[in-house]
Symmetry: C3
Amino acid sequence: MSIGVCYYPEQWSQERWETDVREMAAAGFEYVRLAEFSWGRLEPERNTFDFEWLDEIVALVGDHGMNVVLCTPTASPPRWLLDEHPEIRQTDRDGTVRAGGSRREYCVNSSRYRVETERVVRELANRYADTSHVVGWQIDNEYGCHDTARCYCADCDGAFRDWLAERYGDADGLNDAWGTTFWSQQYDSVEQASVPAPTPAQDHPSLVLDYCRFCSDSIVAYNRLQAELLREYGDWFVTHNFMDRFPAIDLYNIADDLDLLSWDSYPTGHVQATDGQPTPDQLKAGDPDLISFNHDLHRGVLERPFWVMEQQPGDINWPPHSPQPAEGAMRLWAHHAVAHGADAVVYFRWRRCLHGQEQYHAGLRKRDGSPDRGYHDAARAAEELFDVGNVDASVALLHDYENVWALSEQPHAPDFDYWALVQSFYRALRARGVQVAVVHPTTDLSEYGAVVAPTLHIATEDLTDHLTEYVASGGELLLGPRTGVKDEGNKLRPASPPGPLSSLVGATVTHYETVPDQFDRTVVVNGTRYAVRTWAERLDADAAVPVVEYTGNELNGSTAGVRNAVGDGHVVYCGVWPEQELADDLVDTLLTRSGVDHADRLPNGVRAAVRDNHTWVLNFTSDRIDVETDAEWSIGSARIDPFDLAVADRDLLDGLTVNKRA
Amino acid sequence: MSIGVCYYPEQWSQERWETDVREMAAAGFEYVRLAEFSWGRLEPERNTFDFEWLDEIVALVGDHGMNVVLCTPTASPPRWLLDEHPEIRQTDRDGTVRAGGSRREYCVNSSRYRVETERVVRELANRYADTSHVVGWQIDNEYGCHDTARCYCADCDGAFRDWLAERYGDADGLNDAWGTTFWSQQYDSVEQASVPAPTPAQDHPSLVLDYCRFCSDSIVAYNRLQAELLREYGDWFVTHNFMDRFPAIDLYNIADDLDLLSWDSYPTGHVQATDGQPTPDQLKAGDPDLISFNHDLHRGVLERPFWVMEQQPGDINWPPHSPQPAEGAMRLWAHHAVAHGADAVVYFRWRRCLHGQEQYHAGLRKRDGSPDRGYHDAARAAEELFDVGNVDASVALLHDYENVWALSEQPHAPDFDYWALVQSFYRALRARGVQVAVVHPTTDLSEYGAVVAPTLHIATEDLTDHLTEYVASGGELLLGPRTGVKDEGNKLRPASPPGPLSSLVGATVTHYETVPDQFDRTVVVNGTRYAVRTWAERLDADAAVPVVEYTGNELNGSTAGVRNAVGDGHVVYCGVWPEQELADDLVDTLLTRSGVDHADRLPNGVRAAVRDNHTWVLNFTSDRIDVETDAEWSIGSARIDPFDLAVADRDLLDGLTVNKRA
Amino acid sequence: MSIGVCYYPEQWSQERWETDVREMAAAGFEYVRLAEFSWGRLEPERNTFDFEWLDEIVALVGDHGMNVVLCTPTASPPRWLLDEHPEIRQTDRDGTVRAGGSRREYCVNSSRYRVETERVVRELANRYADTSHVVGWQIDNEYGCHDTARCYCADCDGAFRDWLAERYGDADGLNDAWGTTFWSQQYDSVEQASVPAPTPAQDHPSLVLDYCRFCSDSIVAYNRLQAELLREYGDWFVTHNFMDRFPAIDLYNIADDLDLLSWDSYPTGHVQATDGQPTPDQLKAGDPDLISFNHDLHRGVLERPFWVMEQQPGDINWPPHSPQPAEGAMRLWAHHAVAHGADAVVYFRWRRCLHGQEQYHAGLRKRDGSPDRGYHDAARAAEELFDVGNVDASVALLHDYENVWALSEQPHAPDFDYWALVQSFYRALRARGVQVAVVHPTTDLSEYGAVVAPTLHIATEDLTDHLTEYVASGGELLLGPRTGVKDEGNKLRPASPPGPLSSLVGATVTHYETVPDQFDRTVVVNGTRYAVRTWAERLDADAAVPVVEYTGNELNGSTAGVRNAVGDGHVVYCGVWPEQELADDLVDTLLTRSGVDHADRLPNGVRAAVRDNHTWVLNFTSDRIDVETDAEWSIGSARIDPFDLAVADRDLLDGLTVNKRA
Ligand SMILES: [Mg+2]
Ligand SMILES: [Mg+2]
Ligand SMILES: [Mg+2]
Ligand SMILES: [Zn+2]
Ligand SMILES: [Zn+2]
Ligand SMILES: [Zn+2]
């Protein structure tokens, strides 16, 4: 388990390089990420490459016993290229062309940009093909950042028509798949189709879903171009640095071209990008369940350890507020990542940059080059971390980007956010310390003791068979609301929801409604009353047993959730969006019935995670906590300080109890 | 009094049609609306018309004893037409051209689109000219929906110049009418004029008012084109389906070309489109005063019964929240419409559509074709409804679209919304069960016992004469604030408000101000204190008697409203925007003085309405209510359940008392 | 000290002119401002000038013993000019061209508009060169109003490149100044640079700062063109009417071309344009500290008396709310302006205009020409005002537009508003009745007893020397947070803040953070606890003594502010944004230590000001107040009514005590 750092030598005088590299090595770092965004420096004019500076710094890193991860610099084309070929730029939906002068202004469907990409990637890969300590590549940087995953340029418009022709053949196929008799939207030819444009009323939802698929596929194809080029030259690993719950790219598809998934973790920023008011502790250390959801997703996609390619080093520039992280938070985050399956944690960046758009982003080193708080935390983590096998998750959480896209176009309720619904269930699992694999619904589920699907909005007959087999073989499945509503064309299924899953669930949805704040929509489970929000279905139970019922007002006694026994397992379908207490109740029951090991309910902000027979207890709060155990601790102890952690070298999860100290 | 339904056979397989039509007839429906948005199906390629499908369904409807209302399909041009003639599309104020792929993207001032319109309308009208059960036509659909009443394309720009030249002759006429010495805005020629464009500062208010008139006139002309074509072919009625308080089209003008006014009623949506937080009951059944204002407007324009052309059938897709309507609400709405003068209530739509933009809109039938809650409600209404004469309104409420436009451009206060001001007075009238005709200020008023004008912002000498004659002949007139401020050019009148009405009112406005939340602006009427909001005038009473006075703070004792005796009648001028209690007080006094029959103040959400010696008592609340009467009830009884109603076969209004049951 | 009025004779019939002018003179007015926005009237078609009307009104004003201030009419080009040369118009950042039909649509960098400007200004200046009572000129009107200080047209784009080439020479100079290795932003040539454009991510902050400098310089150059032309023809004064805290133009630069600074004062509007909810009293009379900040700024720039060129006359049209000003407020504002150094107060406008965009803006006369409340107030002020020398400010407040621009591009905290930070310190000074000069940091400070710098964000070595000399010579300096962060290129300085000022301050900033509402960031000064907001620095004191310390939570005891003794003076550095109580404490200590005369803390809304041995006590509240003094009063008395004032003919400031009456 390694620590690394992102370094931009081109931003500092050459005299400083050796000092910097020496102090990276002194801190115990093992990886240095280089050359991101450096195209302008690598190729100052067309076909005149300047590799000397990069050669030197690569050599220096090697001389100090560290490895290099290189980046392809395609996220920021140089000015001369933009001047020569302005057509490589993206266009907004309203027709505005995106200008240069920041980053990510290029379009992945530009054939010219693909040519230029190939040119620069070949030069770079060829240059370092024989440098053994260049061990891997990050392709580009943060695809889709700054709302750049969706482009409306002429190249995209043409490519989208080709994509549709490939998928549907002709106008008949397209008209059937989308349903176009509504508002005279019939196509006479696929050539009439185009990317979404400023219409008076809303877009056709089937167009939007396919456009989202196309945009994701376009990035996948562009990434594949680079991955295949890199593999021509060496035996290095190939990765990309993704972002917090990034909705526009289907990770399960793009992963086919990657050896390793990595993501960029900025806990105090992510927590400000979600609904609701963060607590002071969350503003200083993040929400552990938001962070680990990403860990579990990027680990789950390939069911293999992942990297944190950029780890927050201190205060950052982009969220609304920039508090100083809590004392020790930068170390806590590294351990947290490793506990959830990271093999490396790479801090962004070595030193605060004096110019450009990120001056208000800290580095491990201050603006004057001296160590900042993050440096000490990172060095301590580097010293403490030890090698460990992969995470063995006992519960699978089913996640599918097609549902993200379909629900994002038709949320129907003002606050129906896919990620928030997922988080309700995920948080309940993590409150019991359970390791969760965030996997695609079609994944083989046989190894998981329980499966939670917060929503399976688009559901097929194949998926039904897959889940039925899981349950019938003794699996325990918890399904969330708005499931089985749509077909793959984003049309309504003619049958009542959950459509093809109705037999598995043993019930159907007779009516649904959104839940305004003014409504009191309370349910009761085993005598306990719970609040629901956002979405409420009324069920007609067939084979199933009602287990969640409305109480009070005109819905009193009608059914909101059911349990169905199928073969050796059970399905629980919850037709409402649960507030946290209801999700906790449903998940507790699921874990108990499935026999999955779990802790006592952990305090808010305190989390436990087991990886390869090591147990981490992590304190994301300003309270002191005590672990009730007589285990030996290899790091820390049973009495854990604010924002500190402890590690025991065995699996403590079953019945683990942690208390806040008075 | 009839029930009907909107049906889109083109969205369903032909085998299903007979079942559907049979079940419409079984429910007692009398009208089926067909062919809306079906241009793409009717004319799949230029000049190749396919009427077979429509012939068949029209025949089926006739075979089952029902009548057909056909729609001209011009609200959604087919793709091949947009491809051939992209110039038919609208342009936004910022220059963005509106794309196809939804609906209403065409410009009514496009000469090409008028040609195409004529072509398709002639084909359709000719086809069904001899089909006797095709009894009427709906032209187009919801003019102006999705903000499409205002277009800024080159066709509109040119047509606007022609319109100005017609109205004003030359630049001198234009300069005089608008006043253009301000900021060097003088025109040298009418040719310099253009539609509003992105200026650094605000637009000239006189330009804006004339542009609003022009946009309304453009739609009137486009509608007339279709109406005249249809009348060439048959003796059917011609209507259009308008929308909730739609501000962009002068109904009093467009009605000249229509035989019947109709509107589209979606109570749980409309109530979410107004200021303030709806109550749970309103979210489930709407606000009866919002709904009936539309009934009374669409009846008042032609002083003739109207239709609800689209009646909400269940949950709907477009408001922020989509609650399930209360049990019985779909029936309650039909009775409510009839009580206010509807001759037919047509539910939208038969069956939930599986594809396109309105998947989240219920039908009377579920997605699988089985009956939904709305079907049962509609069938019950069809069974209960009986024939009845027209409404005989005792009070006229004066409404003028020119005031809507002028005040919308210069609201001056953040919350000065014309419709909200109108609603304050209208609600007070309806709380007494009084039937109200919403008529143009120039209407003959001699039959009305009392007249309420919430504001007569633009006032002319002719209007003054008209109102003076009404009052002098014994009429009772209640005038609201901001009256008599402007001339027809949207210039200030040189005289203090109410300008030409000053002598009738017997007072003038010395100062006005807006009312921030921080201000305490309280008035006193006959010893009772009332709150006011938004707008406050200080009056100088001349002939008139002060009846509303400010109390507290620096305005204590100054005049906010007056009463003036003129001939055999009286005028009350209220110079403040009344909160509801003050409006209730003013209206109660008005009704008493004018001798108009009225109920005791009805509970919120409970309403009564008399039509042709039948009295409806309608309960839009979840409370049980009791009517104090010994009348016989032909529907229901004096004890009315939540969201239920009762009908007595005589006029119970005078002194009617209704109580919420404990 | 004089009163004047703005008059637009072109908007009224010629028969009325003599009456109007006579009644201006009768009220004691001395100045009439004419010809603003009148280009269309002066030159109805190209090269055909019509001066007759202006000749006549100018003569009338002279005949009645008053002077004329003429305006160049360039703020509103006539329609024929826009038609002939549409290229003179501005372009928005997104490419939208600004249309005519309101005002300020022209671009100062249009060479065509400069030619047209020269043409019309020469005609006008030549015409009145020999009219002795035409004593001065207002150039144009309110530069930058309606967001017009920033233009993105092709002319501006080219001019910006020239400006950069002039400043930096070549690409190396530009790359060095901005720092462009970040995100491959290196320039190969200055020709590649352009004005900001719609980039996916944020702009380079150095580009933005230089673009702001360029935009200000462009207006300065355009203004200079006019000023120099006017000076060719006469010996009149030249001014421009600026706006409330207008951020886009560097007043310290543009003032080089002006004889007199003037600004447009609308107290009930300005108070609604700042954060927070105004009180009812403020809605009726404004916030005296917002108003006088502008007085002190426009006086401070040239250290010379200023004019209020437009004084609010009654209710106004542009803020969210338009309350009627309090009784007497129009007189109170005139005295307030004079107390802070105004030599003339010119009311806008004579009579409410019946047409165009400002119909809802009062004049001194009503729409019918009769006197309105403002007329009586203005006449009373004209009678009372007396001649008096300049203000002698004892405290300098340092203000620099480059800091406005740099902090506006990178506020970093959601509520970091430069003007609000400045106001915190300024308000504390005014609560003690101290006269403040708002001067550029490079001003000679030797005459000031104390100096307050709310922030010196961009700081140079020269500025350091300048301030060190001031302090070492016995000066007392109070510095606010976020000081010494940036260099002139808007790059971070490599040294920790306050960078070059660190030795003077005797401390450095180790960390900073923004302060979300959820955080409790309390400090303690001499045992008293104070709240801070928005921005919090942690200091490492070197030579300095900690005087502000954090208390509570994890920061307890760390340093937030220090005092350093340097030579004969002291520097206090406050590293937090103080809530008002902390600013009051710091300012009280500063005034005491520096021996600057000051009053006891004055009640909120009550202010005192001394000018040339006269003391004004001004009551901006609805309370009655008493002054504790036995001084004689030349206007009013020690018992002051709501919104009234009193003037004593000596300096009462030291120890002045004012109480609200019970
Ligand atoms: Mg895959
Ligand atoms: Mg008419
Ligand atoms: Mg200067
Ligand atoms: Zn593209
Ligand atoms: Zn148009
Ligand atoms: Zn420009």
